[in-house]
């Protein structure tokens, strides 16, 4: 109905329907005046044109001024205010955290709330209950094993995300072969190749690093160390070996398949072992796994197995991170 009106385009309804449909509103300068005669109209038209020209010039000047303002000055002012505010807010947070720290219980005081029955039992009965001489390992792999289980899956989900972002050949790239060749080229140019000093050093160091890592994992329940730290050491050894000898040598024993098998086996063994002990523990069934004599290498029940699993997962994850960041593929 409303379209019968001549000035329909100016009506509120028209603007409303434009807003509804997501169209930009069009501004109309003057309304058609249909009650005037032709002469008056032409005279008016000329006047209008004159006015329009001056107005356009004026507008253009103003427009240029305002158009350039945000790019020239506005951005600077915004950035400055933003930076000042950021610094002020950071200072406020730092200040309030420092004030908080000054009210905390004194460090190392024996009356602190932290020294309660929880840590007492860990220290006094940890060896009998878990069989691990290293109390920390006993704590993370036996008392609070659920947290550590989650923590190893944090690593796993992180490596999955790195796979999503960095791995070549699984995205939407058109020419995967070109991409891979380009990455390999980059790798040859930028990374050390046949560096004699590095190779000789790695020749002596890598076996020692591997053995030390394995020692740290296997003796995790007896001395400082455990799956996470030992796995990190082995991963560092693998990376050093890769740097010295290049991909051709490492691919003989470490490919994508190795990574998948090792991490899958590690995490599933971990899950199976821990679900057994959680299930028996919660249902008050006696666990059939013997704790052994504390101090022996084959002792402390499942902790040794779990340490090996965690170590395998961590070392593979470290190596996978390095390879994916360097070449985008195994």
């Amino acid at each position: 109905m409303s379209k019968v009106r001549k000035d329909y385009e100016q009506s509120k309804w028209h603007r409303f329907s434009q807003w509804l449909n997501g169209e930009m509103p069009v501004e109309y300068k003057s309304s058609p005046e249909w009650h005037l005669t032709d002469e008056e109209l032409s005279k008016k038209y000329e006047e209008d044109m004159e006015r329009a020209k001056t107005a356009q010039r004026k507008e253009a000047r103003l427009y240029a001024k305002y158009r350039s303002w945000p790019e020239e000055k506005g951005v600077h002012i915004y950035e400055r205010v933003y930076r000042i505010l950021a610094v002020l807010i950071c200072l406020a947070v730092i200040g309030s955290l420092l004030i908080t720290v000054s009210y905390l219980p004194e460090f190392g005081n024996s009356d602190n709330p932290v020294n309660n029955e929880v840590s007492k039992r860990y220290i006094e009965q940890g060896i009998q209950e878990t069989g691990a001489v290293n109390i920390v390992t006993g704590m993370i792999l036996d008392y609070r094993a659920f947290d550590t289980f989650g923590e190893s899956h944090v690593l796993f989900i992180a490596v999955s995300c790195v796979f999503i972002i960095l791995r070549l050949g699984i995205g939407k790239e058109k020419n995967i072969e070109d991409e891979k060749a380009k990455e390999a080229e980059n790798d040859r140019l930028l990374e050390p190749k046949n560096d004699k000093i590095l190779q000789k050093a790695a020749f002596f160091l890598v076996p020692i690093i591997f053995i030390f890592g394995i020692y740290v994992i296997l003796f995790g329940h007896l001395s400082p160390g455990g799956g996470f730290s030992g796995g990190a050491i082995i991963g560092a050894g693998l990376i050093l070996y890769l740097d010295a000898y290049g991909f051709q040598k490492t691919e003989r024993f470490f490919t994508l398949k190795t990574f998948r098998v090792v991490s899958l086996a590690g995490l599933l063994t971990y899950a199976a072992a821990k679900s057994y002990s959680f299930f028996t523990g919660a249902n008050h069934i006696k666990s059939i796994i013997p704790l052994g004599i504390p101090g022996h290498i084959l002792s402390s029940g499942l902790i040794l197995v779990l340490n090996i699993c965690v170590g395998a997962v961590v070392s593979c994850t470290m190596y996978a991170f390095y390879v994916l960041f360097r070449k985008g593929d195994f």
Partner: protein, 498 residues
């Protein structure tokens, strides 16, 4: 002990191990495994809910041979059972509805990784729902942070990469604040187990010791979780993340990930700090103000959008504001309304994201309003689901959103401070009008009659999305029409929550 009490633990472990197994399967098998596991979890959660509803008490499940302050434990009562069931249901329907779009957005070789992330997210959500230990909660918060970034970035476009980087920065900042808060609480109480912390906290308040660090710990945890769930001033990551992710991811992010963080916050208030302490705390007033501001500014930004998905994303900011306003009222009635709104918003928002993707699929893959004209005639199911969702957001009777608005208004009237009551009631009114403005605009656009073109259903029908949308419509209408039963359940759950 009855076997049924093992089900929460079995559910979490099943999700995590199948997530790991999915990484070696190919896309099709991973999808099957994922759907099976989530469905199994849904049934297990229903059994758990039925069990705790029958026995009317909550149970503690010790994880391992060592009892609670030394070992880990999980605890489940009515509220946990209800939310686990609900989260599993929404997860299942979100992935089911978005699976066709997913296959188009994500290359074949990568799609198994999506189901790895989905399974681990499901495990994290379940663990956050059931856990009774602050540090376990933090570990699964970490899994959820990384997983949520992964399901945005997996689309592999420039804009989704940028959105995910934005999200990651804000989310990690939130994680950092939560961690500082946890360390402070551990330092002051010497416990990580929720119920033990509450005892120690009550003694601290009685003796008046360490009030400053305790308050700042509460503030840090609240702000950290508020950042992760996109409360108003920290919402800058939200629109991009929800818009440029694939539709299943948007649904999961908006209705599960951010809601699980809010659930954790409510759990911390109830079980770690204690209601009597938190209701006296000034932190709630700040959350209240942020929530009120979010309700207004989120809606105002939504009105300005020309993109349907972005509009829905900004409307999420407003709805998160509602939830925090309910928490900020500082009464049990407010908490109840907030908890109900978590459910009703999750049910409507996942439906809206799925139906937006359904509408854009028949409009040239664009969510722009100009392209969407008459889209509801081309895809009737998506149009109807969008209609129900929009009605629910505005608060038309018979939908879930109406009930939560009624409960918010009731809670506001019972609030102890008159000031809060007046502000809440006025803002509820303004926000409802603003919601109506942008949702009715969208409805008019998608239901505009087409001239010349053939009206009718599109040839390429997405059966799985239709099933998911119908199920979500039914869930929403169930929440709206049988709200008494649900609210009774939640009230009983909250009573045994502390």
């Amino acid at each position: 002990m009855e076997f049924i009490r093992n089900l929460p633990f079995i559910g979490i472990f099943l999700c995590m191990s199948t997530g790991v197994i999915n990484s070696v399967l190919d896309g099709k098998w991973a999808k099957k495994v994922s759907f099976t596991v989530i469905t199994a979890n849904l049934f297990m959660s229903i059994l758990v809910l039925y069990y705790v509803w029958q026995t009317k008490q909550s149970y503690i499940y010790v994880m391992g041979h060592h009892p609670a302050p030394w070992g880990n434990e999980i605890r489940f009562g009515i509220l946990e059972g209800a939310f686990a069931t609900f989260f599993c249901l929404i997860m299942l329907l979100s992935v089911l509805g978005g699976v066709k779009r997913l296959e188009e957005d994500i290359s074949e070789k990568r799609s198994n990784l999506y189901y790895v992330l989905v399974n681990l997210l499901m495990a994290a959500i379940l663990a956050l729902t059931y856990t009774n230990d602050l540090f376990t909660a933090y570990v699964f918060v970490e899994i959820m942070t990384i997983g949520a970034c992964g399901i945005i970035v997996i689309r592999g476009e420039g804009r989704s990469l940028l959105a995910s980087v934005k999200y990651m920065i804000m989310s990690l900042l939130g994680s950092g604040l939560i961690l500082i808060g946890l360390t402070l609480i551990y330092d002051l109480t010497g416990h990580l187990l929720m119920s033990n912390i509450q005892e120690a906290a009550q003694q601290l308040v009685k003796s008046g010791q360490y009030q400053v660090p305790f308050t700042s710990a509460i503030a840090l945890i609240s702000v950290g979780l508020a950042m992760k769930s996109a409360l108003f001033p920290f919402h800058s990551w939200l629109p991009d993340a929800y818009t440029y992710a694939t539709s299943a991811s948007s649904a999961i992010l908006s209705s599960l990930v951010s809601k699980a963080y809010i659930f954790l916050l409510i759990k911390i208030y109830y079980r770690v700090i204690g209601l009597s302490i938190i209701f006296q705390n000034k932190i709630l007033n700040i959350l209240f103000l942020f929530g009120i501001a979010g309700m207004i500014f989120g809606s105002l930004s939504a009105i300005r959008q020309d993109d349907l998905k972005k509009m829905i994303a900004y409307s999420s900011v407003a709805q998160i504001g509602y939830i925090y306003m309910g928490i900020g009222l500082g009464t049990t009635a407010g908490m109840l309304a907030a908890v109900f709104h978590i459910m009703s918003h999750a049910a409507s928002k996942s439906m809206m994201f799925l139906s937006a993707s359904g509408l854009s699929q028949v409009s040239g893959r664009s969510c722009n309003y100009r392209k969407l004209i008459g889209a509801a005639h081309r895809n009737r199911i998506a149009g109807f689901a969008f209609l129900v969702g929009a009605f629910s957001m505005v608060g038309i009777p018979m939908t879930a959103g109406y009930i939560s608005k009624v409960y918010f208004a009731q809670a506001a009237i019972q609030a102890p401070y008159q000031f809060k009551m007046i502000i809440t009631v006025i803002t509820l009114g303004i926000s409802t009008i603003l919601n109506a403005v942008y949702f009715i605009r969208a409805l008019i656009v998608i239901y505009q009659p087409l001239k010349g073109q053939k009206q009718g259903a599109d040839g390429r029908r997405d059966f799985r999305m239709a099933v998911a949308l119908w199920a979500l419509v039914v869930t929403n209408l169930f929440l709206g029409m049988h709200s008494d039963a649900v609210v009774d359940l939640l009230r009983a759950g909250l009573r045994m929550f502390c």
